[in-house]
Amino acid sequence: MEAKQYRKLWWNLILTTLSFSLVPLFLLGGVIYHQFSVSYTARIMDDMKTRAVNRCSSIDLFLDERISQLTSLANTQTLDQLKNEDYLGRVFNIIQTRSKSFLDLGVIDESGNHLAYVGPYYSVLKQVNYKDEQWFHEVMATGIFVSDVFLGFRKIPHFIIAVMVREKNRNWILRATIDSDVIDNIVHLAWIGKKGDAFLINRDNILQTTPRFGGKVMGPPEAPDFANATRNLAEEMDFQGHKVLYATGIVRVKKWVLVVQEDPTEQLTPILQARFLLLSICFGGLLLIILGAFATTRAMMTELMQMDRVRAASDEVAMQSSKMAALGKMAAGIAHEINNPLAVIGEKAGWIKDLLKMDLADPENFQELSEAVNKIEYHVVRAKTVTHRLLGFARRMEPVEERISINTVLDESIDFLENEARYRNIDIQTNYAPDLPLTSTDQSQLQQVFLNIINNGIDAIGKDGEITISTKTNSRQSDIIVEITDNGPGIPKDVLQKIFDPFFTTKEVGKGTGLGLSISYSIMEKLGGRIMVASEEGRGTTFTIYLPVR
């Protein structure tokens, strides 16, 4: 095999090994990572959602409590009682003992005038008329009002809760200011870890509590606009180029939106760790597999090359031994063909000697003498053609490419075997295409193939039969086709598959090397052609040899 083919095989082995090992590895790694990341993210999201809902519930609870405090206060006291600022002050103090979240308390009549006020801004707020305020109209219409957070005069974030009371034929309003610190504290409980954040926004996307990072109360938050959120949701979003996890919850009483915000790099650290671990394992596996693939491929290639070398050497030996076998067989045939004329020549010479002892003047004896000399000459020529043919064959044992006529090569091959065939009463018929093109090929190797196959035909027939040799070209004139058909017993199917195998022989031990057809097969491959065989038991066998026209 050539270096290029080895190289190709090497690549094939490496790539196959790598793909069959790496694909499952990466697939497994990917699936595990994806599965883990999905379930872990889902858990984190769930957690955030729960937190948002919890905080909202707490805020709702707080607001509900404040509203019910005010409502019960308003409904248990009369306007006349509460108009009295001393009384109102006492009530305020009682409330304050239980909850510091009330900053002040005011009583307002239906035309917006402050009837009574308890709180730190008495001088400012006592005179204020609220009849043109938005909240005043709302509370008059709906009975209960909770404001957004604002800074007001106090410059601290707060909001108001107002309840309207119907008392006989007049309505009045109890209004309280609530320090939004309490709301802030509730929301701040959702600040988790080092980067977790939570804040409240109103429906105009204005912050109601101070976020941990970025943004101030009464300002816009540094986050996507969740002002229109209607449900408890959690999702990952891109914000200013970063991936951020958000969860929302709705405060029922005031329709504020609670936004819980997490940095995925912090919350999802276990996933990142898992990813790192997986990548490390995959990378380690990759290295191991590559090393392993290279090592095993190398070992295999070395083994293969070794085997190829051994096989090439044994092929060489087999080729040589087949050549020697062919030579031996030929030598025997040639000895016979030369010894026969020699025997005649010997006898003629002996006869001449005998005649010399007789009377040569006798014209009969002279005639005998002359005839004997002619016969000697004739048989010398006969022996000469045999030796010349042998010389031609020997010369062609060296591999050379020459332009040759296949018909001629076949004729020469038949010459070698004609005697053998004649003794066995086997008729060799030829049916050549007269216009067969010449082709460049190695004549002696081709002759070896023909000799092998014709010889096998003779051996197969044994005695009394016919071998037909025909030549033609295929329709495109690209191949010469030689068909050698014998009418011997044919080859059984199970044997037919093996006839080109080296050392397979059906001949007796010592009669055949089992190499003839295998060598012929490899010779034809080397010459760019091929051999095919078709056989029918009881009918005979046809070997078809294809040789390219070059």
């Binding site: 025997a332 026969n340 025997a343």
Partner: protein, 129 residues
């Protein structure tokens, strides 16, 4: 003057013709045929002491002919004549009962010597029986 009767079987016409002439010139009672079949046919009607039999012949070859002869006329001594030094066919011939084997080309005197030895053996064996 020899007193044995010879038969020569060879498909090589020139060889057969010449050797017959030479043997007849030596006053030997000899006949020749060019195939195994004809040899068997000849043996049916004629008395033969020693036979020279070519191994390689078309049709019925020497070995086969020998086998037939040994079946029908085991007393006839046979000397095998081969065109090449095939020890194998020589040994096969001996196993089948040939007296000896000789390789072509062979000097006539040498061949006659073998014929005489074969004839002697035949005489001894006939004397015994």
């Amino acid at each position: 003057m020899e007193n044995f009767k010879m038969l020569i079987v060879d498909d090589e016409a020139d060889f057969l013709e010449t050797i017959l002439k030479r043997l007849k010139a030596r006053k030997i009672e000899v006949a020749g045929v060019d195939s195994g079949y004809k040899a068997l046919e000849y043996l049916e009607n004629h008395d033969v002491d020693v036979m020279i039999l070519d191994v390689k012949m078309p049709g019925m070859d020497g070995i086969e002919t020998l086998r037939e002869i040994k079946k029908k006329k085991p007393r006839v001594e046979v000397i095998m004549l081969t065109g090449h030094a095939s020890v194998e066919s020589g040994i096969q011939g001996m196993q089948l009962g040939a007296f000896d084997y000789v390789m072509k080309p062979v000097a006539l005197d040498e061949l006659l010597e073998k014929v005489r030895q074969a004839y002697e053996r035949k005489m001894i064996q006939e004397g015994k029986s």
